[in-house]
Symmetry: C2
Subunit: 311 residues, 2 copies
């Protein structure tokens, strides 16, 4: 058990690379932050996977598309259409490369109808260096950073928002803390009453849980710049399309191997590594796990339907 | 057993209407004519269904898209991409409404690559009345006709090409028929030799099997004009999105009910009726079968993975 009361988990919807094969689907993941849902990439069949795993699709607030290879977005327009048919009214935020906007528009136009809900399209562009906040709401902030693939590609950092301190009802009650003083104390500020009494935040509140971060890196060659950006995150997803034996092929296609993903995890001192985006050539994934664990022990395979609690 | 030596079958890849649900996928069917493959519509997930049912995708020569609602084409670009990744060189013919061309082009452009094989795109437009041949090769001819839906929509007639008569080796051998005379006799023509001998085709050949036709009608309201066009076909697929109880809803959404599909089959005197394009509201399909059979006995449900031999 995580010891965290609030939910912060990622469910794997698709784990394969470009060619759906061996019963594995193209890339998509669902991030659950306190029952607010965020979709990361949306390969073909994502809506079927959401149904298969019993995910309440209408809870998705925002979609983040890493890059314009089809195995990362071909399922998006079908999902948009189904959300409409299921009666959605709530806006949907989409963060994606600019060219996706016209692709979606043309397909909606061709169907002769309009969606019943608004789409808020935000053009995604990775900063030259470092990471840049692109989204935030009450639960989550999201930063984008640059990866290196055959076409422009973004990685994402998903971080819980800074939390307030937790008010200690018992001690506060005994000391006669007034209800209007509590919000200030929870923010970590002291209260100076008109009679001169100083009420210290640290006497009546306890430290909040640490905010957790999930980093998402696909598709990319291994980059030194990633190490700084993902340093110390609780959980890193890094593509490991190929085994070590295919290092040349991996480099040629701008992907990473198991060992390269694991080295980044080790150098960055992350809590846990998830690997995926497996090439269709691998029917079994055991060697991916063995190779990655030989470099970074706390590795898990992304398996479709599996939910990882980020702790 | 069909009594036909040549293969003419349809395999159901997707049987549901707009919203994938109850384990059912959006519309797609694979026609097999003597091991030449033709794809009819291509909803999201079609390529996964082709793999699931062990279909050799590279054999697909042509794709026919009935109309521009996403549940009939959202799987196409993913399939095109996978054919490329699997090394296709052979051209692919696509018959589809004009707007699909730009949608496909934009998505291929966004991925930064080129397909290794040529796509021959043919703009599909239904004739005002009757049917019109749009495609033919050595095995098959395809005609398009007009359906009536919320947006322009085509039905298709898939007919085996007229077959040659079968040469009777034994009788021909005894009579000393020359090898260069055989092609003429197989076409049903007699041969007049220079010495005045008349070699009659019917003496040395036997009648070919009857050419079979498969008619495909979705999405549409029931149309009287369909009856004439599909009269006497061996097998008719007609959408039956709704049960009779939902006739009003069916009309409003430009679809057909089980009873309407079955009435067309009966009036047209077809051999067999297949129904499908089921609304997501139906978890079980037994009532579709009961209702349709009460009007037209030889009805079958389209079930994904099932192959129907057309006889």
């Amino acid at each position: 058990m995580s010891g965290h009361k609030s939910k912060f988990s990622v469910t794997i919807l698709g784990s394969n690379s470009a060619l759906p094969a061996n019963g594995r689907n193209p890339t998509s993941q669902l991030l659950n932050v306190n029952n607010h849902y965020y979709l990361i990439d949306c390969g073909e069949g994502t809506q079927m996977q959401l149904r298969r795993f019993g995910v309440k699709m209408q809870r998705i607030k925002a979609v983040f598309i890493s890059h314009m290879h089809g195995d990362h977005y071909f399922g998006l327009v079908g999902l948009l259409n189904s959300l409409h048919l299921l009666g959605r009214k709530m806006p949907l935020e989409i963060y994606a490369p600019e060219s996706l906007q016209e692709i979606v528009r043309l397909q909606l136009d061709a169907s002769g109808g309009r969606l019943q809900y608004p789409i808020q399209f935000h053009i995604l562009k990775a900063p030259q260096s470092g990471s840049e906040i692109i989204y935030s709401d009450s639960e989550l902030s999201v930063s984008a950073f640059r990866l290196k693939h055959r076409i422009p590609c973004c990685g994402f950092l998903f971080s819980e928002r800074d939390k307030q301190r937790i008010y200690d009802t018992k001690r506060g009650g005994v000391a006669g803390i007034k209800i209007e003083e509590i919000p200030t104390l929870k923010k970590g500020h002291d209260v100076l009453r008109e009679d001169g009494t100083l009420i210290r935040s640290e006497d009546y509140t306890i430290a909040p849980q640490k905010s957790r971060t999930y980093a998402y890196c696909t598709d990319t060659v291994p980059l030194d710049s990633t190490i700084d950006i993902v340093r110390g995150v609780e959980c890193l997803y890094h593509e490991a399309t190929f085994l070590e034996a295919e290092k040349a092929r991996s480099k040629q296609t701008f992907h990473s191997t198991t060992g390269q993903a694991a080295s980044i995890a080790r150098s960055a001192g992350v809590g846990k590594l998830l690997i995926g985006h497996y090439s269709a050539r691998y029917t079994e994934l055991e060697n991916h796990l063995i190779e990655s664990r030989s470099v970074f022990e706390n590795t898990d395979l992304t398996i479709e339907g599996k939910e990882f609690e980020i702790i």
